[in-house]
Structure formats: C-alpha cells, structure tokens
C-alpha cells in the first residue's frame, strides 16, 4: 500500500531523512516513534507529498508520489492529521469538515453534512459544530482535525501525534476511534508516543533517530527487547 | 499716479505660466516667467515706482491665492466675463479674439456650414466651450450637424489632438497663434475667427475693492496714453487693434 525506498530529504543543508525505506501492506497499522526532531513529521509529510522528497521513491496505493499528474489522487488517498491541527479559521467546525467532500464532489451536500456530523459525534464534539476554531480548546481543535481528515474517506490515514493535546479520557476515546478504523481495515501510519496504543493496535513499530529508521519490529518485540542501543535508551525513559 | 495700497511694498502677481505668449517660461532654467502679462505687470509696477514679483502655480491655485492675499492680482491670460465679477473685480488691458486653427495648409472656413460634424478640441474652463455651443446652435438652426466638442484641461492638450489627428480644429486665442507663428512658423493656420458676442478682453483680476480697482484702471489708462502698452503689443507680434477700447 505504501512503500518508501531510499528516501532522502534535505532542508537546506540539514539532512532530515536519510535513506529511509519502509513497506506497509494494505490494512497494516504502523506506529512511528523516536526522539523530537528525528524526522517523524517529515516522513509522513513526504508520504502525501506535502514535502517533496529529494531522492528515492515513494509509492502509495500504486501511485507514484511526486508524479505531477497523480498529486491530487495521492492526497485524496491519504488523510492527514497535523501536529498543529491547521484548522481553517474562517470556517466553522462543520464547514471545516464538509469542505473537501463538497468540493471534490464525491458526495452530495446532504450526505457530506451527515457524514461530518457522524464523525464529529464520534470524537464527541458535535455540540461545537457551529463554533469557529478560535473558540475551541486545544483538545477540541485536535478532535476537529481528526474528524476533518476522516470525512475524506481516505484509504490511508496519516496521524501526526493525534492525541498530544488530549486529556487521557479523550485519548482513550480517540484511540478507540482509531482502533475501529483499524479494524475496518484502514491502513494507518501514526506518529505517537502512546505506547499503550502502539501495543494494542500497531502491527509494527518504527523507531527513528536523527533522520534514520533505526529499528522496525512488532510492538511486543520492540517494547520487550529493543535491538538497538538507541531504542533501549529511549524506552528506558518511558517508565520514568 | 497714486499706487493702490496693496502695491505699497511691491506688486505681486499670480500666474499659471503655461499659456504663451501671455505667460510662460521662456527658458526652462528661468526664475521668472516671460510674456505679455509679465510685461504688463512690470509696466504697472514701474508706474507705481515699485517692483513686480511673480508667483507661478497651477491655474486652480490662482484664485484662492488672490483671495487669501498671497498675491495682489491675477494677470494670467484671464478674460473679462460677466459672471466672474460676482467674486472679483477686473480691469481690461488687451482685447483678444477667439479663433479656430487647423494644420498648415488647411483651407480657410468661409461658411460655418463647413464645420458641420467636425471634431473640435477646446480647453475646458474657458469661454471656448460656450462659444462653440452657440456656434452649434447656429449650425443646427441652419439644418447642419453640430460639431463634436472635446474639452481638455490645458491648451497644449487640446492642440495635441490636432497633432494626433483626432480633432480637425482647435479653438484658441489669437495671441497664442501669433506666438506659435513667431516661434515655429508654418505649423498651424488660422482658418476662422469666431464672431464675438461681447467685449471679452484680457483683464487684471483684483480682490473686491472698488477704490483700489479704480486706481488700477487709471494706471492702465496711463499706459495706453504713454504708449507703453503699444510697445508690449509690438514686442509680442500682436496687432495694435487689440488695444481698441482699452482704458475707456
């Protein structure tokens, strides 16, 4: 479903992704973790071509990421939740969610609205549907961002720390939603440090450091017996 | 000659120096403008034993400046008009005629019917548009098409239309065409002299003060009498007949 081969990405002179290769099958759920600045956000931004990669090959659902003619298809295949939400401030919560379905003409206005209300209800925020993003607390904004991405009915979801602004209760609920999506067969890449979630849902954990993938392992193996020193050091902090 | 009070410490005059030969910058580097009006002002000042000074500005600034006392008089190719006398006083010093000009070699207009349907460029804010409308009324009364009148802010803009070929004729003052002929002979020809409905000579405009105005009137009379005005007229290639009726 998703395949990265020797992907490199530079910001000016800073080498943010170094020879990253990763294969993700249809329906697979992958958690990416690693220290701050290790390139996790950059990686998933490259997958839906928000950042062009400098070399290597990325394929998504058979499409070549980076090929000009497929760029819209790529992005409609992959829904994304940003680390800092990026809601549209001039639109209400509901409008944020129905904008894409309406414009891409996939569904009727009526259906788009119904679907948006469903997803907003699922993340417990339907009662705020008429508010503007600036009126919402951090956690509320994050949930709207998740609903907005789901409304595109993507085949793949890219989550960039989707629970960072949430309280534990809401984390639980959002992870439940993600679990459901997972069980419905959605392919997912999720940058998160919620080890609980990783353990429960992830098929594999990808550990990154300094722009490189250091280790890929099933969660049980990764948490119990990390192979690399770097991952061991990282994990030793979690019980902190 | 008793000098008017406003000229006690010098005679300052507001002009828009873009109307040769009445007033213009003879050389781009000159400090003071030159022209008929400049000479007239100097002659008046000489009569009163003071110096004349000139303030150049856009036409729209002339009247507010006179009103505000920034200068003592406006002598800037402005003709006497009945409706202007509501706000200011005027003293005539040179008669003038309005003419139609066209490119060199254009045939003279002997009958106004020849003007029917032609485009005529005129300077706005002058008496020209009004004159042209009277002419149009005559044309229409005689069953001809009226002329097409286009108004431009400066005389030079209007004449440009002649050069561009958009207008067939331009309305201007006999003084101006005399000057052009002197400078650059053979560009334009006077083809028609507009019939004058009223006596509309170039005049000195003053603030509304009848006593002071009378003194200026006296001064003009004196300049006619001692031949100074005639000298100026000859200097600028104008016709002595333009002094008919001045100083009376």
């Amino acid at each position: 479903m998703i395949s990265l081969r020797n992907v490199n990405k530079n910001y000016g002179t800073f080498h943010a992704l170094k020879d990253v290769s990763l294969e993700i099958a249809q329906g697979e759920k992958v958690v990416i973790c690693g220290p701050s600045g290790s390139g996790k956000s950059t990686l998933i931004r490259c997958v839906n071509h928000l950042e062009p990669h400098d070399s290597g090959e990325i394929r998504l659902d058979g499409l070549e990421v980076g090929a000009a003619r497929d760029v819209l298809k790529v992005r409609r295949t992959a829904g994304m939740v940003f680390q800092n939400f990026n809601l549209f401030p001039h639109l209400t919560v509901l409008e944020n969610c129905i904008l894409a379905p309406k414009l891409t003409g996939a569904v009727s206005d009526r259906e788009a609205r119904k679907m948006a209300e469903d997803y907003l209800a699922r993340v417990h925020i339907l009662d705020q549907a008429w508010k503007y993003p600036i009126q919402l607390s951090g956690g509320q904004q994050q949930r709207v961002a998740i609903a907005r991405a789901l409304c595109m009915k993507p085949k793949v979801m890219l989550f960039d720390e989707p629970t960072s602004a949430l309280d534990p209760e809401m984390v639980g609920e959002v992870l439940d939603v993600m679990g459901e999506l997972a069980s419905e067969g959605m392919t997912m890449i999720c940058v998160t440090h919620e080890m609980g979630f990783a353990r429960k849902v992830a098929d594999r954990v990808v550990f990154m450091d300094a722009g490189r993938i250091v280790e890929i392992a099933p969660p049980e193996t990764f948490f119990a017996a990390p192979q690399s020193d770097r991952a061991r050091a990282f994990l030793s902090q979690i019980s902190h | 000659q008793t000098a008017p009070e406003f000229a006690a410490d010098g005679f300052s005059v507001c002009v828009d120096p873009t109307f040769p030969p009445m007033e213009f910058m003879a050389d781009a580097a000159d400090k003071d403008p030159s022209g008929v009006d400049i000479d007239v002002a100097r002659a008046l000042a000489g009569l009163w034993g003071v110096d004349a000074s000139f303030v150049s500005m856009d036409f729209a600034g002339l009247l507010p400046s006179l009103e505000a006392g920034r200068c003592d008089a406006v002598i800037s190719g402005t003709v006497l008009r009945e409706d202007r006398l509501k706000t200011f006083n005027a003293v005539p010093y040179l008669d003038t005629a309005t003419v139609l000009i066209a490119g060199k070699g254009a045939p003279a207009v002997s009958d106004i019917a020849e003007l029917a349907g032609k485009t005529v460029a005129v300077q706005s804010g002058t008496s020209y548009p009004g004159r042209m409308e009277e002419l149009n009324a005559e044309l229409e009364a005689a069953g001809h098409a009226p002329t097409k009148i286009q108004q431009y802010p400066k005389q030079s803009d209007a004449i440009q239309q002649l050069l561009v070929g958009r207008a067939a004729y331009v309305v201007t003052q006999d003084t101006e065409i005399a000057y052009r002929e002197m400078q650059d002979p053979g560009k334009f020809d006077v083809v028609f002299t507009m019939p004058a409905a009223a006596f509309e000579p170039f005049s000195v405009y003053l603030r509304k003060d009848d006593a002071e105005t009378a003194k200026v009137g006296e001064a003009v009379k004196a300049l006619v009498a001692n031949g100074e005005l005639l000298k100026i007229v000859e200097k600028w290639n104008l016709s002595p007949s333009q002094l008919n009726g001045i100083g009376e």
Binding site: G79, N86, F88, T104, K131 | P153
Partner: protein, 241 residues
C-alpha cells in the same frame, strides 16, 4: 471669504455635477474591479516559487506603478489609435480609454496588496488544503483568498479612494468627471469656494458610504478574534447561513 449658499445648493444637485459624480463612481468601480481581476492570478504567481513568470510580473508591477497615470491615459487615448487604427473609431470613447488605462495602472498596485495579504495567511493553511486533496484553484478560492481578504480589504479600500480621486486625471482625455466639472465651473465663474464645496460634499458622501460598507464586510471577519468569534458564530447559527 465669500460663500454664496444658493450657488452651492443649486450646483449640488445640478445635472452636470450629478453626472460628474456618477461618472467618477462608475469609472472607479469598473476600473478597480478589472484591476482586481487582473491582479489576483498575478499575486498568486508572485506568492509561489521563483520563476521567469515571477520576474516578468515584477517588471510589470514596477512599470505600471512608475509611469505617471497621466501618461498612461495619454498613451491609450492618443498613441493607441496611431498604432491600431481600430481605436480611431467612434466606439473608443474617453470612458473606455480611461477604463483601460486606469485598470492596468491600478492592477499593478493591487498585485502588491494581494501578494502581501496572501503571504500573511499562515503557511499551514496551504498544507492543510493540499492534505485534504483540494485542487490549487479550490485552495485559493475557498481557503487562501477568504483569509487574505481580511488583510487586503483596508489597503484595497485605500486604493479605491485614491482611484476615485485619480479619475480626475481623465480630464486630460476629455472625460468630465466630478473634479473636472468643478474646475470648469470655477474657471468660468471664479466662485471657487462654492464649487469646491460641492465636490467635497460628493466625495464625503462616497467615501463615508464606502467605509460603512467596509465595516459591514469586516463583521464577517470576526472569526479571527478570540473575543468576537462567538458573536459571529451565534449570528450564523441563528440565520442558518
């Protein structure tokens, strides 16, 4: 200073002044709308990555801002007919010529305003629009421009008012808008305070109406304020916009 109220009142609603004011307003609206239409795509290009096109647009902007409007008017009115005989014909009225010249002139200024407003929109917005799979045209139409409008509106209104006054330059190609009518009357009668007061009155009416309109539009931007967004949300909910 003398002031004759009867002259003032008579002129205020006289046909030449009304016609002048309408001409001023009409020409300004026509030219400004055209300018905005020209400027929008150019601003979008300027907001993008460097390219040859961007260089060309920069040159365009510089040129049309540098050339005095007067000359642009004269060029369109006097030189164009010499180059293309088609412009010599009847239909090519001073209004049309002024419209063309002022639109081109104003578009250069408007490009800069739109460029700056677009650059003020948070970078994440473009990314978010891309991420939900919108076409570039949709991203600009529904995400970037509505947000940029908030920033662009006040300087755009500045330009509109400047243009309102600038139309008076069109007197050079024999268009008689408000200021020209005024100056013709001043030159005719020398009653400057009365006639300038008429022009002033009309300008004040136009500018203040415009500012009222602007304020109404700005109410739609309250989503950007922590303290006022609630009011906007409430209005929208109750009206079901």
């Amino acid at each position: 200073m003398s002031f004759d109220p009867s002259t003032f009142w008579e002129a205020l609603f006289s046909w030449p002044f009304l016609r002048g004011a309408l001409l001023t307003l009409g020409l300004t609206i026509a030219a400004h709308l055209t300018a905005i239409l020209i400027a929008l795509p150019l601003a979008v290009v300027l907001n993008g990555p460097p390219s040859v096109l961007r260089k060309l647009i920069t040159a365009y902007v510089g040129f049309f801002r540098a050339v005095p409007t007067l000359l642009q008017l004269l060029f369109v009115w006097n030189a164009l007919p010499q180059i293309f005989p088609i412009f010599r014909e009847e239909w090519f009225t001073p209004f049309l010529a002024a419209w063309i010249a002022l639109s081109l002139n104003e578009s250069a200024y408007q490009v800069e305003i739109n460029r700056s407003a677009l650059s003020a929109v948070d970078g994440g917005q473009m990314a978010a629009g891309q991420a939900i799979g919108l076409k570039k045209s949709h991203i600009y139409r529904y995400i970037m421009l509505p947000q940029a409008l908030r920033v662009a509106l006040p300087p755009t209104m500045n330009e509109f008012i400047t243009l309102l006054k600038l139309t008076s330059l069109a007197s050079i190609i024999s268009l008689q808008e408000l200021m020209t009518v005024t100056q013709i009357n001043v030159a005719r009668t020398f009653q400057f305070s009365e006639y300038y007061a008429v022009a002033l009155t009309w300008y004040l009416v136009m500018v203040y109406s415009l500012m009222g309109l602007q304020k109404l539009v700005e109410r739609r931007f309250r989503w950007s304020s922590r303290t006022e967004a609630a009011a906007l949300a409430e209005t929208r909910r109750s009206r079901g916009w």
